[in-house]
């Protein structure tokens, strides 16, 4: 019983961390119809910054700084690599995104020398706590609440503010949005800023539970978050969040099955099998709209 609880708790927590990354994919896709392949690497860079900054600064400074610089990074990537291709075919923008992804990975290799880097033990996240008879890290308890709070805040922003209204308008019709006086580029930047900021928060939570960061450490969580976004119906924020929790929980359950069954190595394959099954029955994902122009 205690084992079941601890597996569930950690599944929810991993799911929440994927959710924070998945929102970035789904927001950007919703507006630009672009799969931002660099998003997972932005997440990795946030992790590395977490290591370097916490080494020299107190947490109260270093963690906000990680978030701020990740946001700036997301903004700059969009302006430098995607905005010049606004009128180019979508495939060109995707190639640009893949290029940015490698640029970030290579830069990380250059800076770290390719060595796995150990994430700092942040006391209020990595400390342990006793829940229902099982010892678990604080981060496992904090993650779902923090994710919930951020998702509620994001939902408020999108549905009840002027910039949120502009984001919804732009996601449907660039040209008419411009005729209303909306600056398309500012709205697009806003989505990258939000997505990167959430990924930065996700990186602090995720890497606290992770042995080491390598230059490709963003790839797997990034891919799973992307799967979560597709699974939930890409473009839909609730879809991405629910998809991420489902994937996190399923994956942790498989990893936690008795070792005599010998299935835990297949947990990643299972994630993708799940995606394929869902997409066979619901091609547009759980909450996606049946649109025609999707990639």
């Amino acid at each position: 019983m205690e084992y079941v609880i601890s597996v569930l708790l950690s599944g929810i927590s991993v799911g929440g961390q994927y959710a924070l990354i998945a929102i970035g994919y789904t927001l950007v896709y919703g507006i630009l119809r672009l799969i931002n392949f660099a998003h997972g690497d932005v997440f990795m860079v946030a992790g590395l910054m977490g290591i370097y900054f916490t080494a020299t600064m107190p947490y109260s400074v270093s963690i906000p700084l990680v978030i701020i610089i990740t946001v700036v990074l997301g903004f700059v990537i969009e302006r430098a690599a995607y905005k010049p291709l606004r009128n180019a075919p979508r495939m060109s923008v995707m190639i640009s995104a893949i290029g940015v992804s490698y640029l970030l990975q290579n830069t990380a290799t250059y800076i770290t020398g390719g060595q796995p880097m150990t994430y700092p033990v942040i006391p209020f996240l990595a400390g342990t706590v006793n829940v229902a008879g099982t010892h678990t890290k604080w981060v496992v308890i904090i993650t779902p609440f923090l994710v919930l709070a951020l998702v509620v805040a994001l939902n408020q922003l999108i549905n009840h503010t002027k910039i949120g209204m502009a984001m919804r308008a732009v996601s449907k019709d660039f040209e008419t949005s411009r005729l209303m006086g909306i600056k398309i580029n500012s709205v697009i930047s806003a989505t990258f800023i939000i997505g990167s900021g959430l990924a930065a928060v996700g990186s602090v939570l995720f890497f606290t539970n992770y042995p080491a960061i390598t230059p490709t450490a963003g790839a797997m969580p990034g891919l799973k978050a992307f799967v979560a976004a597709v699974f939930g119906g890409i473009g839909s924020i609730p879809g991405a969040v629910i998809g991420a929790f489902l994937i996190g929980i399923c994956e942790t359950i498989i990893k936690g099955l008795p070792s005599s069954w010998d299935v835990s190595v297949f947990s990643d394959a299972f994630t993708f099998a799940l995606l394929i099954v869902i997409l066979v029955f619901k091609p547009q994902g759980l909450f996606g709209e049946a649109a025609t122009d999707k990639v």
Binding site: D173, E175, M180
Partner: protein, 238 residues
């Protein structure tokens, strides 16, 4: 004569190799209702889209309120008081009726309540549907919303691209009744229409555009009597 609000000089628009607008000059004075009529593909929408900044002209100048806006972007042009009701309505299907109206006032920072009330007075059917998503409205209601949305920007010049397209005769009449009211309330209107008969009746002045060029101009009454216009656009041979 009153002040010139919009002046288009020798406008040319090219798409790739095709010249869709081939040297159009026209003007709209403050307070007037001017209509642009012409067959499919004549270049009417291209002209309006160029004025609103969506399309960059190959040649020519566009002066609005005394200022050259030829190379300005749509946001700037909207901020100067030029709003467009685009061809095909183009309301935001995922925004509610009320949000669609608010988005029309995107650049305004003042209170919108009074303007929203005014739009609801013009179109009471929108008021009842204030919380409905735009995409669920009927075609006629969507057109009313598109007009209302543009009015929310408090335009000095309201440009409308075929507001009667695809609507039942009774709805067409309602739309034209509102256009007349908008015009009487002091807003300058530039109207594109296929429905030449209705358009010429509400318009002070009119231009006929054929193959990207203006071929005839005059007051609404003059054009209603013009033999060639009657034959080509009013479906009458008398």
């Amino acid at each position: 004569m009153s002040e010139q609000l919009l002046k288009i000089e020798n406008l040319k628009v090219r798409y790739g190799g095709i010249e869709a607008v081939r040297g159009i000059s026209l003007d709209v004075r403050a307070g007037e209702t001017v209509t642009l009529i012409g067959a499919n593909g004549a270049g009417k929408s291209s002209t309006l889209r160029t004025v609103s900044g969506l399309v960059k002209p190959a040649e020519g100048r566009i002066i609005f309120g005394g200022e050259d806006i030829t190379d300005k972007d749509p946001t700037y042009i909207v901020s100067k008081g030029l709003m467009m009701v685009p061809e095909g309505r183009r309301i935001f299907p995922n925004l509610t009726v009320l949000e669609n109206l608010k988005v029309g006032a995107y650049l305004r920072k003042d209170d919108l309540d009074e303007d929203i009330e005014k739009v609801y007075e013009y179109f009471p059917r929108l008021k009842e549907r204030s919380w409905q998503e735009g995409g669920t409205l009927s075609g006629g209601e969507q057109q009313m919303l598109a007009v209302g949305r543009a009015l929310m920007g408090r335009p000095r010049l309201l440009m409308m691209d075929e507001p009667s397209l695809g609507l039942a005769p009774i709805v067409v009449q309602e739309i034209f009744r509102i256009i007349r009211q908008i015009s009487e309330s002091g807003t300058t209107v530039l109207l594109i229409e296929q429905n030449a008969n209705m358009a010429l009746h509400v318009a002070d002045r009119a231009y006929v555009i054929e193959n990207g060029m203006i071929t005839t101009e005059g007051t609404g009454e003059e054009l209603l009597k013009d033999e060639k216009v009657r034959a080509a656009y009013l479906g009458s041979t008398s």
